[in-house]
């Protein structure tokens, strides 16, 4: 129940409209610190739209997305920040960010929310190692004195670059791609590309990692490897995970908290066990018998 006691990200009344189309309608949920939270729902339910709002690729039409980076934020701090025109506030319990006010690259660099994409977006023509180095751009940029010191090859930059390579090596080791570090990312097999994208996101040192269908197109063994990788990320790196997934074996096995969307509305929210037995989830996923439609609709309140 960490999403109630110690939420990392609190989404409140999030709505996203594209012209007349309401993709997400008044959605509220929380992501617990240290949890693996799954966002599930049938195709077109608005899951990726939620992701794009959280990571700043879309500006939400309405709603508040507050992220407390270090510890649970007091409600009055969140309200004070909302009333101000600022994006960020250092509070007694740590840094507080309002994601809906931040551009995408700042969400990654300042609020430390990293993401992967449904259709893999690696830098295909760059090597595996280069992909992981690009992910550490901002750290290295500062170390290189915004390029000026780096042009002269100052020792402090060299040291930072070595550290960055070490971190890249660590993640290559984690995803089992050390041998292929100098190969172009586009030449990797599909499953390895998925893992590399996760490792690349982890190189930005996120507090929250958003994974858009990480198990799509993986075989059962690769799926199992993914599960253990995600568990390791959660337990060893202080990184909470928010994932969209259709593969129920992944969702039910690893997640602590499941949020179910249908037509842009939240229809269920709870532990995997609770969600699995929720009538509305079953109806949304499997449909219901003709004679039961009215009964179920009355129950859901449609």
């Amino acid at each position: 129940m960490r999403w109630k006691t110690d939420p990392l990200l609190v989404v409140e009344h999030l709505s996203m409209r594209f012209g007349g189309l309401v993709a997400v309608n008044d959605l509220s949920f929380a992501v617990g610190r240290g949890d693996i939270t799954a966002l599930i729902g049938p195709n077109g339910a608005g899951k990726t739209t939620v992701f794009n709002c959280v990571t700043g690729f879309y500006k939400p039409t309405e709603g508040r997305l507050s992220l407390a980076r270090q510890g649970k934020a007091a409600q009055h701090d969140v309200d004070a920040l909302t009333l101000s025109s600022k994006r960020h506030q250092a509070t007694s319990s740590g840094d507080l960010y309002l994601l809906e006010r931040m551009p995408d690259h700042e969400i990654s660099w300042k609020a430390r929310v990293a993401r992967t994409f449904q259709n893999i977006r690696l830098f295909q023509g760059m090597t595996v190692l280069e992909n992981l180095m690009v992910a550490q751009h901002n750290t290295l940029m500062i170390a290189s004195g915004f390029t000026i010191l780096g042009l002269f090859g100052v020792p402090s930059y060299r040291a930072k670059e070595r550290q960055a390579i070490e971190k890249a090596k660590f993640w290559l080791d984690q995803i089992g791609l050390t041998d292929r570090a100098d190969d172009p990312a586009g030449e990797l097999p599909y499953g390895a590309q998925r893992r590399l994208e996760i490792a690349r996101a982890m190189c930005t040192e996120p507090v929250m990692l958003c994974l858009d269908e990480p198990a799509a197109g993986l075989n059962p063994k690769e799926s199992a490897d993914l599960n253990s990788l995600l568990r390791k990320i959660r337990s060893e790196h202080d990184t909470s995970v928010l994932l969209i997934e259709h593969d129920m074996s992944v969702v039910m096995e690893i997640s602590d908290h499941v949020v179910v969307l249908d037509y842009g509305i939240k229809i269920s929210d709870g532990t995997p066990g609770e969600v699995r037995n929720d009538q509305r989830v079953i109806a949304a996923y499997l449909g219901v018998d003709d004679e039961e439609v009215e009964k179920v609709e009355a129950e859901i309140g449609v």
């Binding site: 990654s108 690696l122 295909q124 760059m126 190692l129 280069e130 180095m133 042009l151 190969d183 172009p184």
Partner: protein, 473 residues
Amino acid sequence: MATVETLESTTRTGSDIGTRAAAAARDAAFAGVVTLGLCFPIVALRAEQDMSNQLVLQQRWSWAIIAALLVFAARFGVVMIRGQMAARAAATGFPVAAPARAAKAPSRIRAAITRYIGIIGVAVLFLFPIVTNYYLGSSGSLKWINNYGVQILIYVMLGWGLNIVVGLAGLLDLGYVAFYAVGAYSYALLSTTLGLSFWLCLPLAGLLAALWGVILGFPVLRLRGDYLAIVTLAFGEIIRMILINFTDLTNGYAGITEIPKATLFGIPFTDTPGGFASVFGIEYSPIQRTIFLFYLILCMALLTNFVTIRLRRLPMGRAWEALREDEIACRSLGINTVTTKLTAFALGAMFAGFAGSFFAVRQGFVSPESFTFIESATILAIVVLGGMGSQIGVALAAVVMIGGTELRRELDWTKQIFGDSFDPAQYRMLIFGFGMVAMMIWRPRGIIQTREPSIFLKERKSVSGSLVKEGHG
């Protein structure tokens, strides 16, 4: 048993040739008819003025028929040879897999060659003026040092500058000549009005051009692909129009004349006491100034190259390349794409500004005529021909493009073959066109088709060009 099989296969091949020839003839006939159709309005009929200034229609049907027959024969030959190759490949059981062969080629050997070409090239360039001057004398070597050496090196430098924008950051810039113009006019105006020296104006010209790069960069940040190309093209034209119409400042079409010449840190290249020749106690020769200019542009070009190579290994350069590969992924990793694009524009423009002020000091005269769209197109062609993002490739492409243009001026020997009425100058563009088509067929990704990684863990492996994106604009 074996002989029977051989016999069978021979007969099969025999009938194969028959069917292939028929198919090839059909194909070639079609090509011939198309040629005839195309030649009808432009070759067969020709309007010419007669003595009384009236248009007379000349008919040259034989020309059109000859052209059609030539195309027929060539097409027939091509189809037959191709069929022969395919048949042979089928017989040996290996399909002709052209892409596979192309992918295998970029190896360590090629990487080594690429590396040595750079070192040898620099050494040759440093010796070039001395050697040509020694063997050809000062008047004979002037053409080689000035028309070939200096001219090519200017374009090498411009190509390297544009390579940052187009090759690394993947932003298609069709108005690059604008920054070249800004650099040239900066030096021309600062030196003629304020009397500033070349060495002071050079960095100023670079800074001003970089400033204009940022000014252009801002409005086009959101544009991609064709839209970006059109706006940058328009920007190049705007700058040229300003140079033409702002006559109070730029003197319009007449341009700016009598731009002071560059000095070797205060020592002028003149035949006077205190001039270069008398200071160093050697005999005065006008070639000395040309040789000085050669070394100047060589050093400037090498500086451009050095900075670019360094930048590629720094986070900024890597961010440029990442931007070319996938802009959305860049943003998800916290890269500010606005500043990344602007730095690419600014740095590319800065090197064009340096080259521009060199151009002004070399010519001693600038006018808007020198900064037309065709210059932008030439520089872009150099970058694309070289292989986008490759430093060596761009340098080689500049040699081919600019050296080729110069060489094509020297086709007089063809008169010995085709007779005195033959004017080779008229065929320069045709040769150029053939060269372009040949490149498109055999080297569609440029002279250097691979990308060198900026960092490696164990082994530097070239990335095949087919994986590298060209950027979204």
